[in-house]
């Protein structure tokens, strides 16, 4: 779900699992409209597609006797465009990727939050004061879920030891088989990691130039640039056998469906994407918004977040992990959310994970231009 492509919502749902026609029909009826801005029984939610799935929100709606109306966006840019163009009060809650939080904060779109209102103490210590959600010592977003991005590969073609380094992408075997997820940020972030840049998005001009050159040497290896719709099919039909900058949010679902794919965090490191909920400034329904965030970060809400059928994620709440292990042990194992076994926190603790962030020294446009040029080579 981390893709800036306007087609992703419907196609991921269709191409992927059984959310099906019924889900789509329901989604249509839960669509946001500006007419609901003042309706006290409606929570207006700006979010990635699929987050108003009844599986996630039905209980909240029932308990509070409200309807959640979602305005779906695909990609942080679109989210910022929507929020910029809507009058204050249009939205009550926004779900955002961590790298866009400072932009939301800088434009004064989100409210500071009281940490005591939310079960942050239930979170893994690493996530209790997640740096990208705090500004000047104040909390602006509560983490709801996260995942890692590394190197995804076809397990029939590559052995795990062959893909321990991003260098595998330049190997003879990978010629014409390296697929790219068509978003500059994670793709170029992986190249930056392969150049040994830590953190990968904070680059001097020299280092940025070096990343650009290294990226361009990958052109003969490239099979194509895929949006969410065709990244799944390309991995499935063997068109792409190695993809940097994606993760288990794609490969786990495919693997469960019998496609021979896996994701590894290479030695040079991987990226972390993080989603959080914030209260939008100007909302007349602050209480309801707060309740929604509390619900989503509660153990029950977290379990639902982790096990949503079309997009399985990692969750930051230990209480959520515990409940998941009690109620759905099988899912806990598949999702690597088991407390007493190797789990998703291992990579984090091994310091292999860097946050996905927007470039700090260059403008987004500079990075985008490099990406566009690479595509057109």
């Amino acid at each position: 779900m981390r893709i800036p492509n306007f087609m992703s919502g419907d196609i991921s749902r269709r191409g992927f699992l059984k959310a099906g026609a019924a889900g789509a029909a329901l989604a249509a009826s839960s669509q946001w409209s500006s007419a609901y801005a003042d309706d006290p029984n409606v929570l207006n939610y700006l979010s990635w597609p699929g987050n108003a799935d009844p599986y996630l929100i039905a209980e909240f709606e029932k308990a509070n006797n409200v309807k959640v109306k979602i305005k779906e966006y695909v990609g942080g840019d679109q989210m910022l465009a929507v929020i910029n163009q809507s009058p204050p009060g249009s939205f009550d809650v926004v779900l955002a990727d961590a790298e866009y939080m400072h932009l939301l904060h800088a434009s004064d779109f989100i409210e500071p939050l009281d940490p005591d209102d939310y079960p942050l103490k239930d979170f893994w210590p690493e996530f209790q004061k997640f740096p990208l959600h705090w500004f000047d010592g104040q909390l602006y977003g509560v983490m709801t879920d996260f995942g890692y991005l590394g190197l995804s590969y076809n397990t029939d073609v590559f052995k795990p030891e062959e893909v321990k380094s991003y260098a595998a992408m330049w190997s003879e075997k990978a010629k014409g088989k390296v697929g790219f997820f068509d978003w500059y940020l994670p793709s170029m972030g992986s190249i930056s990691l392969s150049n040994g840049n830590l953190p990968p998005f904070d680059l001097s001009e020299d280092k940025f130039e070096a990343v650009k050159e290294k990226l361009f040497t990958l052109k003969p290896q490239a099979s194509g640039f895929y949006t969410i719709a065709d990244i799944f099919s390309s991995l499935t039909n063997g068109q792409a056998q190695l993809v940097p900058g994606i993760g288990e949010w794609i490969t786990l679902g495919l693997r469960l469906n019998g496609v021979p794919v896996d994701t590894i965090i290479p030695d040079e490191g991987g990226l972390q994407w993080t989603e959080s909920l914030s209260i939008v400034k100007g909302t007349p329904k602050k209480d309801l918004a707060r309740k929604f965030i509390q619900y989503t970060t509660s153990p029950e809400g977290q379990v639902k977040m982790a096990t949503k059928v079309d997009n399985k994620k990692s969750i930051p709440s230990i209480a959520g992990w515990k409940l998941l292990n009690e109620t759905m042990p099988k899912d806990a194992e598949i999702l690597r959310l088991q407390l007493d076994k190797p789990n998703v926190m291992d990579e984090y603790k091994a310091k292999k994970i860097q946050f996905r962030q927007l470039p700090s020294e260059q403008s987004i446009e500079d990075w985008n231009d490099v990406w566009s040029e690479f595509k057109s080579l």
């Binding site: 840019d77 679109q78 910022l80 014409g176 194509g224 065709d230 099919s233 231009d369 057109s376």
Partner: protein, 309 residues
């Protein structure tokens, strides 16, 4: 209603039914076409001219913090025109569209000829039905079907491997792209040509044959000149469809390399650069307009010649 009444001369009383009819009839030669044309004109203004003007206006606007702001600056034009990815995409898209147009005509002309002249009435109707059906089915779906056929583990490659040979890299690249585009252009082009062929006076063909023309000569000197306009129409339609297509480049080649329509999406996707995307859109429209004018000009040229003989 009042428009209609106003447009008619006052009817002198007492009018018989016949008189009324005549009054309406005498008023209509000038006004009726205008009235019938008005809705079309209004439609064109609202749904074509106005958006087009807006599209052009937007190219001079600016984007500040993801918001469009009116401005008058040529920055977007210079940025796009001098950008290397744009120039490459323009050349590539032109190349793809020209190739697709040529392929479409090479396949469509014999196909349309066969349908019009070689098939029985029954088979012809069937063939035309099969041509019309795809026009109403989802293009996206047809492209997905091609993915299944052409992918590395797809139907064709499975057959090739069963024959003991190595699989071919069919998906991705010009071949797959043209297959996808022809899926879009062929039914339309063949339909245009079949209609043109069936409009030919069969007496001309008979006359030519009676005068001793072989079939090849009939085709070259009677049939082809008669459908010259339709050929240009089919060709320019194929060009138009393939030049602006987004689905085939995206799904058949994985945007490698990107075409202009993919570049438009990329431009909007990153940084909400609607003005720059509009620049690309306007340039594409201008190119299509030129191609249409050219086709029109070439088609007309012949008519004058024929009339002059």
């Amino acid at each position: 209603m009042t428009d209609i009444e106003a447009s008619m001369p006052p009817v002198k009383a007492p009018a018989t039914e016949r008189g009324l009819f005549r009054a309406r009839y005498t008023a209509s030669p000038a006004t009726m076409p205008v009235m019938l044309g008005l809705p079309v004109l209004a439609w064109q203004l609202v749904f074509f001219a106005a958006p087009l003007v807006f599209l052009i206006v937007v190219t001079f606007w600016k984007v500040r913090s993801f918001r469009l702001e009116p401005d008058f600056s040529f920055d977007n034009w210079t940025k796009i025109i001098f950008s290397v990815p744009f120039q490459r995409a323009l050349a590539y898209t032109g190349e793809v569209a020209v190739l697709c147009t040529a392929l479409t005509l090479i396949v469509a002309l014999p196909a349309a000829y066969t349908i019009s002249f070689r098939l029985s009435q029954k088979l012809r109707d069937l063939a035309i039905t099969f041509l019309i059906v795809p026009v109403f089915s989802s293009y996206m779906l047809r492209i997905y079907a091609w993915q299944i056929v052409l992918s590395p583990d797809g139907i064709v490659n499975s057959l090739i491997r069963m024959a003991g040979l190595d699989g071919l890299p069919l998906l991705g690249g010009q071949f797959a792209l043209q297959v996808g585009l022809l899926t879009l252009t062929l039914p339309v082009a063949i339909l245009i040509l079949v209609l043109a062929f069936s409009g030919i006076d069969r007496n001309l063909v008979e006359a030519a044959e009676n005068l001793g023309c072989r079939r090849s000569k009939v085709i070259l000197h009677v049939l082809m000149p008669s459908i010259r306009n339709a050929t240009f129409l089919a060709g320019s339609t194929a060009f138009l469809m393939s030049f602006g297509d987004y689905i085939s480049p995206l799904f058949m080649t994985g945007s490698k390399p990107p075409t202009l329509s993919i570049l438009i999406v990329d431009t909007v996707k990153s940084g909400s650069q609607w003005p720059r995307a509009s620049v690309i859109g306007v340039i594409m429209l201008a190119i299509l307009a030129l191609v249409f004018l050219l086709a029109n000009f070439l088609g007309r040229d012949r008519k004058i010649q024929a009339g002059g003989k």
